[in-house]
Amino acid sequence: MPEVITWGDTIFAILTFAILLALLRKYAWGPVFNMMKEREEHIANEIETAEKNRQEAETYLEQQRQEVENARAEAREIVENSRKSGENQREDIVKQAHEEANRLKEDARLEIKREKDQAINEVRDQVATLSVLIASKVIDQQLDEQEQEQLIENYLKEVGEEL
């Protein structure tokens, strides 16, 4: 132990302390402190951004899901529609075909009837003409009954062949 109080040490210690304090503030913990604060802010920002991104992504996902759902529903609708329209078309075609066939059949039937009527009329006309012709010939020739009969038969045969 020194026998005197060394006041010089006191002054020097305080001076050293003050200088060290100032130097440390300027070169050591000051910058580190700032950096730590900056990092804190940075991390807070990052977390915030991440949170925001996550929410955005979730929204997008939800949107996409909705979209896919919509698309699926639409596709289903389209398929349904086309199936239905196909069905309708088929029915239409079949019905049309039926109608066409019926119409054709009817036409044919009418034609046949008309033809037949015409033929009968024609026959009737000819029979009349022939009858007149036969009658005039009978009158003309004055044949006996036997010949007359034969003649009629011949004419009838002729008519028959002509018809």
Binding site: T6, F12, L21, A28, W29, H42
Partner: protein
């Protein structure tokens, strides 16, 4: 064992200004070590901490934690520089005397030792801290509130409160000095025993190693206690919560 001190009497011709050159040297060396360590730790700081920056940031958090445990951070932030300087300076000053001791011949003056093993240094720091607590108490709470602090919790405790301030100063400084002085004395004794050659070297080595290990622990714990008490006294003066 009667080591002396390299005292330079009457500096600049001032009759009372004596200087212990050993203290001057060791304080300077301690301060330089502290500054170098901190400077090189904090030289290349980046957003992503690496190596020494991690250590330094851990230290910053450690000091921050101690301040936070005594007062709220809004009040305590301004004492961070004081805290970290006190802790590092005293820690290095404590540790610096452990590895060896340099004694000059033939004057037997101790040159290399812990500066904190000298009461004048520890008392200087203690008084400085207490004066700072009073200063901050006065500026942050106003002279009136500061004065009222001495009348709490009851007015008749005023003498005790005043005595407490001196007792705090004395215990703060003397605790550090006592521990470090004991450390130095025992180290010197063991070194002396080991230096006496023969069988004693063998016997002195083991306790020497043990005591050095304990000294490291002691030096750290004393620096921590000094810092802790500084912040406790500071909080006592500047906080409103009592």
């Amino acid at each position: 064992m009667d080591h002396g001190d390299p005292i330079y009497y009457e500096l600049f011709g001032i009759s009372w200004l004596h200087v212990n050159l050993s203290n001057i040297m060791m304080l300077t060396i301690s301060a330089v070590i502290v500054f170098s360590l901190c400077y090189f730790s904090a030289r290349k700081i980046s957003m992503k901490p690496t190596g020494m920056q991690n250590v330094f940031e851990w230290l910053v958090d450690f000091i921050k934690g101690i301040i936070n445990s005594t007062m709220d951070w809004k009040t305590g932030e301004r004492f961070f520089g004081l805290g970290i300087t006190i802790f590092l300076f005293i820690l290095v000053a404590n540790l610096i005397g452990i590895p060896f001791m340099i004694v000059s011949e033939p004057a037997h003056d101790v040159w290399w030792k812990s500066p904190t093993a000298d009461p004048i240094i520890t008392m200087t720091f203690a008084v400085m801290v207490i004066v700072l607590t009073h200063y901050y108490g006065m500026t942050m709470k106003g002279p009136k509130e500061y004065g009222k602090g001495f009348l709490r919790p009851k007015a008749f405790l005023l003498p005790l409160n005043i005595i407490e301030e001196f007792a705090n100063t004395l215990t703060l400084g003397m605790r550090l000095f006592g521990n470090l002085y004991a450390k130095e004395i025992l180290l010197a004794l063991l070194a002396g025993a080991g230096g006496a050659w023969g069988l004693s070297t063998l016997f002195a080595t083991a306790p020497m190693v043990a005591w050095q290990a304990f000294s490291i622990f002691l030096a750290t714990i004393q620096a921590f206690i000094f810092l802790m008490l500084t912040m406790v006294y500071m909080a006592h003066k500047v906080s409103d919560d009592h």
